[in-house]
Amino acid sequence: MAMTERVRQLRKESYDAPVTLSAERALLLTGFYRDSMGKYSTPVMRAKALEHLCENQAVYIGDRELVVGERGPRPKAVPTYPELTCHSEEDLRILNSRPKTRYAVSDDDIAHYRREVIPFWRGRTMRDRIFEGLPDEWKSAYEAGIFTEFMEQRAPGHTTLDGKFYTRGLDDFKAQIDERITRLDFAGDPDATGKSEQLRGMRIACDAVIRFAERHADLADRMAAKELDATRKAELERIASNCRRVPRHAPRDFWEALQMYWFMHLGTIIELNGWDAMNPGHLDRYLHPFYRKGLESGALTQESARELLECFWIKFNNHPAPPKVGVTAEESGTYNDFTNINLGGVMADGSDGVNELSYVMLDVMEEIHLLQPQGNIQLSRKNEDRFLKAALRVVRKGYGYPSLFNADGVIEQMVRCGKRIEDAREGGTSGCVETGAFGKEAYILTGYLNTPKILEIALNNGMDPRTRRRIGVETGDPRSFPSFDRLFDAFRRQLQHFVDIKIRGNQFIERMYATHQPAVFLSVLIDDCIENGRDYNDGGARYNTNYIQCVGIGTITDSLSAIRTHVFDDRAVAMGGLLDAMAADFDGAEALRLRLANRTPRYGNDDNYADAIMMRVFDTLHETIDGRPNTKGGRYHVDMLPTTSHIYFGSVMGASADGRKAGAPLSEGISPVQGADRNGPSAVIKSAAKMDHLRTGGTLLNMKLLPSLLESHDGIDKLAQLVRTYFRLDGHHVQFNVVDGATLRRAQEHPDEHRDLIVRVAGYSDYFCDVGKELQDEIILRTEHGSY
């Protein structure tokens, strides 16, 4: 089926639109805060701020659009959130001029910032207050590149909505809130006042989003009145009717259902700039009843449903990520805001979750193939191979999605953490690879942890060799270590030290958000915030998980394996000589560097010597992190994903014992070090599966395949079996880059001819020409797996 002319135009407009920064939200919010500071409780203040935005920000309906609403004044005009991070004039100038992930900023907006926004927010933003309140040891570790911090300029997000608002409108949620308020026990419950303020805020937020929709209805009416084309006039009238119906009431048909989700999406991302924007979750299963009903009544055809879906799909691409600066831009340098749509899996009752819309959506994904949204399949043993193969035929196109997840493993991870199995089945993965219970959980990524850097600190007795500052604990001079175990113990103690610092910082930041930045609208949509009378940011959700994402398992495994092999087993290299060579970036010691790289058992080859070290590192990470309490009644768990932090983390490190040169990228996700895997894809999978994925909240494995492998049906079949085997071994996720190195090198040389080349980066895809040179090189270096 070919795209309609409408879709083709909308897609092109979205693709071509320049990314600009809009100061509109910042100015409206600044005005509101100036006038209202001190008038209301914090949750009510936040709700009224949302109301002010929904009442006053520009509304936009584009030509030919069927699903309407933008976060900013027009597509790809990105608002800012000065209450969280107030960009300086310099920040704005850098955003306007930096070569990659640029945001055009007008001189007017810079002037507005200078005159109104910056003077008001300086010292009052979350970012300012967080950095002010964090202890020095946290700052030292952060500056050294031991870890990153997700909430220093964006709000906790990482969440996904479930199906509840396809059967209930915001009026129904308001009724639920009112009913909850009537049950507050002001005499007996010391928290009743706080709950009451929170619930009032949530109620105001519902009205704010309803109002936002109504303003779109009014605009559509005005546009319809002027429209000469009868067909478009009817569409605009229908859009107006949709926007009066939803989100106040539950949607009645397919079109209203899409518009319903979209207003929920917009409400949450106008309220705050939570990570991963917002995710629709299992869109195929939520929309399926509307699709069936429409086809049966004749109100919908397969073609019209598909066109609506494609119009909806394009909306996500209109929203590049809010502009990031500093370390956060390094760890996540992309326009992609990580919306990730789940297909397939199993239903709450355990039955097969694949339906006809799952296939339609795979087609839509293939046809639209813009940067956003991402899509994934949740593959259960209950799903037919046909579903997997349909997904692989899209993978073959080389857009880097859909990514493939092990639905049964994801469910088991959640059950391990105490979730109800029904909630786990309604959950899935979002962002890059993160596991969560959709619509019922705050599952927060707190930051990346640079595990090879922690080994580097251990090898330097607590000192950071880059700055000569002592940021770790004194664990002894490794030259005196009698055994590998002694070295490993030093690593373990440094890890403990830095995880303590990291978690202490996160507990503080978490309280700051709980106290100062409630997400009142998001709280309406996440169970059981209403019942608990508590905010999403304050433990109101049914489940509250914090993840620490550990980076560089391949690099640290190979480094430890090299030291164990050459220093302790073979005694062919002295520890002192090795450390000196690393300090000199192997200058004059190329033969040693090659020996370390080539004559060491390395992770990714199904080599038990190396893989046992990987498992030991993983177990140590798990013991150190898993189960520690957060401040919201939930616990910390381990994730294994990097976004782009493996580039940044490599840049803060000297040479490593696996022969990696100073500043070079680390391995990404749980993938082997780039080029270290030499026994083919099944060996990579065997190595990766020796990690116990069920004790994580997500792992990320990237493999680069040569297009030739996927040319035949037989190739697709074999790849399907490879994926099935990985999932049988409890692997969490795998994604394939289907593009050969020659193409990538050509694109690097001639970016203009390859502007639309999308590649898999780490749990997401990006335009190859938009990623930095180091990352481009790193992607090219990843081992290509062909067929033998």
Binding site: L594, N598, D606, P681, S682, A683, Q721, R724, L729
Partner: protein, 304 residues
Amino acid sequence: MDHAVSTGIIFDIKRFAIHDGPGIRTTVFLKGCPLSCWWCHNPESQSAKPDVLYRRALCVRCGACVETCPEAARSLLPDGVERDVSRCIVCGTCVEACPSGALDRLGREVTVDELIEEIGRDTSFYDQSGGGVTFSGGEPLAQPVFLRLLLERCAEHDIHTAVDTCGFARPDVLRSVAEVTGLFLFDLKYMDPRRHLEFTGVHNDVILRNLVLLTEMGKDVLIRVPVIPSITDTVDNMDAIGKFVSSLSRRPRITLLPHHKPSEEKYSRFHLERRLPPDTGTPSREELQALASRLSGYGLEVAY
């Protein structure tokens, strides 16, 4: 077990092999082949003896091989290292010493136990995909006792086996191996005996008799025809193959294997004579299709 029969010489193991039989497979390449086909892709596998491989591009001239060689067979040159073949005993010391991977073993002795462990590593993939192990070469039947032991052990582990053979072996050897083999990938190259001798170095009468033998034993056989432009792809040869295969009991399926240019470097590296005309290219899809339909005219199932 007698050490001599429980070890063999292999030159490579490829995991995730997807063109050597059903499912996801591990292909074990046994070293040594009685044929020397003009189009051979692995000419280094023809000799049964292990050797040491040198990749000049990876060499950093560190001298580690020169220093460690117990026979003083290595010497440093301005652009690499050289080996005195008359002194080298192929002990592998230099390979262990080489930091860059420029030196590598070409062929190594392995025990049945070691190989079975290696093959077993991908059992999950075989189970999932209906795959298994394929013994290829070289010519696996050239190490028949070793091969038979391997096949028996695979059967004990419930691992499906395939033997990729040129068919040139003593019939009693083949019969013994066939008793424990799941599938034969049987190369049929050229039907005319004289030209077969010219292109491969051996007569094809044994080969053809062996193919009859296997089909009469009721073995699962997949015939593979290498399509070498202007050599095997002639009308006469295809018709002869069609006639012959259609006369066999159970009419085995045929797969056409399109020729790909073997690596020039490989030939020069091993000082092997290159007899295939250098302009021999890869047959197009259309050409393959035409050959396939010609063969199907004989009532055969043909894939390409």
